[in-house]
């Protein structure tokens, strides 16, 4: 840490609890101007909670809060915004029904002297800002129609260019492809030169080490370490995070990895010449029992659409789909489920019930099997408890409303939901997004277990690591077409990136 510079923000002895659960216990945290401060920690360690306190979202907490050396309290996110603090939340918080331009200028639209919004100027400026960030998109299109990664990018751009002095990014890169991450980092470095203080939360330790000046490690609501990034290693950080030797947990996949010989078991799913408007072109492949098929590609390569077609949420324009040799046209998700297909979409919001308890979220997929007419809540809870234990969901209370779990733990619930079901074909979109290293490892083991049980599994991801850590065979998707298949041969992160 550079000596002599005054922290722009200083928190002392921050304690915050939600009901009986202590999310933060006596945390000290200081942020210097012109610094990129990395934050790491397991799921539920309290990272987002601390950031929400800084951004004025949580107004009730104990401890001292000093901004520019002055003790103060924000009553709302608005107050924090007025004080120059902007945050990109872990959960996407865009307005899907507004246009791209409106989202970029949310809350401070350019107006003329009469107070009327200057739409044309707004669209032009939004387009320019996004272009500076390397985003090529029509500013007048509806945001909700864009792929989720692009939405996230637009949200980031909005916050970065809002002119804030303190910028907080809570897992901003989880939906981004490598080139976009590079652009983001370049922008962060430029902002740092201009004196902006930046907090950067991520489960990608390598990214943290590469871009940040200082790293703080959280465990169980406490700060357990703070070091200069240059003076630490990935292994040391992981060990601090989870309290045990962690080197083995995070593989970097820069070296070649040899894929196994493809399984010769029967195809559970056979996709033939699938096409969809501008998203997919003549996609054909098979998914076999006892095999994990990885599908890799940059954001917008058609993965999302492909997964939706497999689960009956979208109907293809052309091509066929066969499950265990029988041709199927899924008119609805219910039909796909009946045929034995299950999907975990990349967005938790789309598949979880935030106002309902954890056990109802998990049991929904198997309700028809455990209850013909009357519900059996005791049995539902038992099944949920087993999943919560197996996936180490924290806190392990199945009666808690889902909305009270941390982001990573919600993601685990999304997975748990289908694990109780065992389908024939499990389609996982970004299964480890937002998970800490330990949890990622758990997911890898669970997927291997399911594979051993003879499920066909398809993993779609924009993160090469995810695909490499899980897949036995890998397809690379580019602009809606399969451009390369890796099987029974060496593959590495670089080879994947090159193919995409």
């Amino acid at each position: 840490m550079q000596e002599g510079r005054q922290p722009i923000l200083e928190l002392q002895g921050i304690t915050k609890s939600f009901g009986g659960v202590e999310a933060l216990r006596g945390v000290d945290f200081a942020l210097l101007p012109g610094e990129i401060h990395g934050l790491v920690g397991e799921n539920g360690a309290g990272k987002s909670t601390l950031m929400k306190i800084i951004a004025g979202v949580h107004a009730e907490f104990s401890g001292r809060f000093l901004l520019d050396g002055q003790e103060m309290r924000f009553r709302s996110a608005r107050d924090a915004h007025a004080a120059g603090i902007a945050m990109v939340h872990q959960e996407l918080s865009v307005a899907p029904d507004l246009t791209v331009a409106e989202n970029v200028f949310l809350g401070n639209q350019p107006t003329n002297r009469l107070g009327l919004v200057q739409w044309r100027r707004m669209a032009r400026e939004a387009g320019e800002q996004l272009a500076r960030f390397g985003i090529d998109v029509d500013p007048t299109s509806r945001l909700g129609d864009l792929p989720i990664g692009l939405q996230q990018l637009i949200e980031i751009a909005r916050v970065l260019f809002s002119g804030a002095r303190i910028v907080i990014l809570d897992e901003p890169t989880s939906a981004l492809s490598p080139p976009e991450v590079e652009r983001l980092f370049a922008t962060l470095r430029r902002l740092r030169e201009e004196g902006t203080a930046i907090v950067f939360i991520s489960h990608f330790i390598e990214d943290i080490l590469r871009v940040s000046d200082t790293v703080t490690v959280f465990r169980n609501g406490r700060k357990v370490a703070e070091t200069a990034s240059a003076a630490t290693t990935k292994g040391a950080l992981i060990e601090a995070m989870i309290g045990r030797g962690g080197e083995a947990l995070e593989h970097s996949y820069t070296d070649d990895l040899v894929l196994p010989r493809p399984s010769d078991s029967p195809a559970v799913l056979k996709v033939d010449q699938l096409s969809l408007a501008r998203s997919l072109k003549d996609v054909s492949f098979e998914a076999r029992a006892g095999e994990v098929l990885g599908i890799y590609g940059f954001m917008g390569c058609g993965q999302q659409e492909l997964s939706r077609i497999l689960f009956g949420k979208l109907q293809p324009d052309a091509g066929t789909l066969a499950v265990e040799g029988t041709l199927k046209t899924f008119a609805s998700t219910a039909a796909a489920r009946r045929a034995g297909v299950a999907l975990v979409p990349e967005s938790r919001r789309a598949m979880l019930f935030h106002q309902e308890p954890v056990y109802k979220n998990i049991s929904i997929s198997i309700l028809d099997r455990i209850a013909s007419l009357l519900l059996k809540p005791a049995q539902e809870r038992d099944i949920a408890k087993r999943q919560v234990e197996q996936l180490q969901i924290r806190p392990p209370v199945v009666g808690l409303d889902l909305g009270m779990l941390s982001g990573g733990n919600q993601q685990k619930v999304a997975l748990a939901k289908w694990l109780t079901y065992p389908p024939k074909l499990l389609v996982l979109c970004e299964p480890t997004r937002g998970m800490d290293v330990g949890a990622k490892n758990d997911v890898i083991n669970i997927v291997r277990d399911l594979r051993a049980k003879g499920l066909a599994i398809i993993v779609l991801s924009t993160e090469p690591e995810t695909v490499l850590s899980l897949a036995d065979r890998i397809l690379v998707l580019k602009r809606g077409a399969v451009v390369r298949e890796f099987k029974n041969e060496p593959v590495s992160k670089d080879r994947l990136l090159e193919a995409a």
């Binding site: 009901g19 009986g20 609805s332 979880l352 935030h354 929904i364």
Partner: protein, 342 residues
């Protein structure tokens, strides 16, 4: 595991009374409204707080109660049914249409045995509900519009059946349930109680009930869970129409006549009962318990205003204002809950 569970459970309790109350605002506010209104009328009029009058109130809300059972399902799914009163009306008219009327009634009707008349009438309202269901799920017309059209269609069928005349006779069973009593308790109150209880049991203890809450809570997530969302939405529209139809038949027996526009006020009353009770218009929250409280609020309000000495034209306005206040509380409670969860 077990110990951490209990630890967290006590933690839940330790969270404090204020946030708990805030998150329960949806259930508490209507209850307070009810207590306040009852206390007010009890003080304002000696004839209000009597056993006899309690019986009156129960009888007065019974038809609304029967209709509101089905509407609760619809609103829990974040949909709306504006055709309930018209369907009640047409079903009530139909059951009379299929019954032998006295010779002075000038309607070219089709007299049938009582059981058949009832069966046909129920089939009629179920069919109308099915049309609502198909319009909503297959064609994709928003329920607000679809049921608005159905409101007109059902009114049209009513008009054609009675052609401006009034019918009086209904089958014996309906007549007993609608206007008879057993041991001093009106049958109509018993029927309403049984239907409310049945609705509650379905919503709370059956798989279908859970699906209703899940579809209302997050429709997209329900779809990604592989639920047959359209089937569930379609079902609630049919349930709503059938409940309305039963309410309509009982109502006709209760009023002693079947005619056009007889149920017009029941549309607003039923929606008000459900929403005033605290069931969220955004779906997924609330239930029959809330509807019961809402029914009482409405019943006490309507009945109480008759017991106090106010200009009867002013009463309409007062009623509107109090309903508006209750609705504001509903929306406000939703926000408080979101805050508490946040």
């Amino acid at each position: 595991m077990a110990s951490s569970e209990t630890a967290a459970a006590t933690g839940q309790r330790a969270r404090g009374v204020a946030p708990f109350l805030r998150s329960q605002m949806r259930n508490i506010a209507p209850f307070l409204t009810l207590i306040f209104l009852s206390a007010f009328f009890a003080l304002a009029s000696p004839s209000f707080a009597t056993i006899d009058n309690l019986g009156n109130i129960l009888t007065q809300v019974s038809v609304t109660g029967v209709i509101a059972v089905g509407l609760t399902f619809v609103i829990l799914c974040a949909e709306i049914d504006l055709s309930i009163a018209s369907i009640a009306n047409v079903t009530g008219i139909a059951v009379a249409y299929f019954t032998l009327q006295d010779s002075y009634v000038n309607i070219a009707n089709i007299p049938l045995p009582g059981a058949l008349a009832i069966l046909l009438s129920i089939l009629l309202c179920a069919a109308l509900g099915l049309v609502n269901a198909l319009g909503l799920t297959v064609i994709g017309i928003p329920s607000f519009i679809m049921t608005l059209a159905m409101m007109q269609i059902a009114a049209g069928i009513s008009a054609l059946l009675v052609r401006g005349q009034i019918a009086y006779k209904v089958p014996g069973l309906i007549s007993t349930l609608g206007s008879g009593a057993i041991g001093g308790i009106p049958w109509i109150v018993i029927v309403a109680a049984i239907m409310l209880l049945g609705g509650h049991l379905v919503l709370t203890y059956t798989r279908f009930g859970r699906y209703v809450y899940m579809v209302g809570g997050n429709r997209e997530a329900a779809e990604y869970s592989g639920l047959n969302v359209k089937l569930i939405l379609g079902s609630v529209m049919v349930i709503s129409a059938v409940c309305s139809g039963i309410g309509g038949m009982l109502g006709v027996a209760h009023f002693g006549s079947a005619q056009q526009n007889e149920f017009d006020t029941y549309l607003l009353d039923s929606i008000a009962a459900v929403v005033v009770g605290g069931t969220s218009l955004f779906g997924g929250r609330g239930g029959i318990g809330n509807t019961i409280v809402g029914l009482f609020v409405l019943g006490v309000l309507n009945n109480g205003l008759d017991h106090v000495n106010i200009d009867s034209f002013l009463k309409i306005l007062i009623r509107g204002v109090i309903l508006l206040a209750a609705l504001i509380i509903n929306v406000y409670a939703q926000r408080l809950r979101e805050k508490a969860a946040e």
